[in-house]
Amino acid sequence: MQESALFEYVLRLSDDSLILGQRLGEWCGHGPILEEDIALTNISLDLIGQAISLYDFAAELEGKGRNHDQLAYLRYENEYKNVLLVEQPNGDFAMTILRQFFFDAFRLPLYEALMQSPVAQLAAIAAKSVKETRYHLKHTSEWVIRMGDGTEESHQRAQAAIDHLWRFTNELFYEDANDHTLQAEQKVPTMAHIQTQWMATVTSVLQEATLEIPKNNWKFDGGREGRHSEHMGYLLSDLQYMQRAYPNMEW
């Protein structure tokens, strides 16, 4: 039972990383400037790398002989447990950066807390990933400020991205019985703790960027339970194509 709660927890982390990494990868060759094209795909690579470590650990916990490729490529849509935020389409550059910023501001305090976890492998992955995530958050925070406090158009686009994505942010702090089991064993932090830190980062960056938190607080969720937005199916058909067309192929 314990192992299965931890499996589910690690799978959620893996899926968030993989799906967001896949989305960022779509920018390859399409970035607004070369440096940013490289930056987005570098972040993508870090996320996919983190996903590999996390899937390997999940596979070990599951103990059914699956490997990271099978977990990443050979599951059905409702078996993916990522939040809806990470599967949302790239949109314009502002949309991509704001999505990434909301995610980085969440991932950083989460990894910092997980570094203290008594689950050694989880703490090791967090310690490795935290340095990468800190770098990502700096990059996205600076862009949010440049765009928000930039030209009329960049400000308007950044605000539009926030207004659109805000509804997906609450799900980052989703908790269920699974989390409560692990929290009771002090293996993982409570989400309220992470949310406080997330809110502090978001508030301070948006303030400096002269951007506003939307008043409308409509909340969307479902991803953590395997109920995804329409975009997820299209994303998976791209992501899974090679393994579905050529089963067990290796690079």
């Binding site: 490289i38 870090d46 790398g49 983190q50 590999i52 490795k128 990933s129 990468e132 600076e142």
Partner: protein, 161 residues
């Protein structure tokens, strides 16, 4: 029977696939080497989680040991303790410079927004008058710089702690 020290010596002949002037020993990615139930275990730690060179390094290590007549070896990927640029050897730093990549310098707190980028000397002309072009470079471990003095664009191996 070879010793762990000899084995480490052999691994000095394995170069990093992305930065071929560096050996994997220079880079500091090889951790403990020990014998476990008749098998040599070579612990390998990634520079960055997504570093695509890791698989190739594993293949290269095993091939090199095979060439030296050691068939009973296995590479174990470990994450803890997390790799840091402090593990790049002095020799490695020198090789990087000669290759045109500025080696890592001690950087102040990197999380501060719009902070002054680290002062990196140009690997070509040694001028300190350089500027950061992008936080991200041609691989996960590098940032992109340009020298204001000689105009040389160059990679900077980011400090990771």
């Amino acid at each position: 029977m070879v010793s762990a020290t000899e084995l480490r010596q052999f691994l000095k002949e394995v170069s990093d696939p992305e930065i071929p002037v560096l050996t994997i020993i220079d880079l500091g990615v090889v951790q403990e080497i020990y014998l476990q139930e008749q098998t040599w275990i070579i612990e390998l730690t990634p520079t960055y989680s997504g570093c695509p060179a890791m698989q190739q390094i594993e293949v290269d290590i095993l091939a090199k040991l095979q060439e030296k007549g050691i068939a009973n070896a296995k590479v174990k990927h470990i994450l803890s303790p997390a790799w840091t640029t402090d593990w790049i050897t002095e020799e490695g730093r020198q090789k990087l410079r000669l290759y045109g990549i500025a080696p890592p310098v001690n950087e102040p707190d990197k999380s501060a927004l719009f902070s002054e980028p680290p002062r990196v000397a140009c690997p070509k002309c040694n001028s300190k008058d350089t500027r950061m072009v992008s936080l991200f470079g041609s691989t996960a471990c590098k940032a992109h710089y340009q020298c204001n003095e000689c105009q040389e664009p160059f990679d900077y191996f980011k400090c990771l702690k």
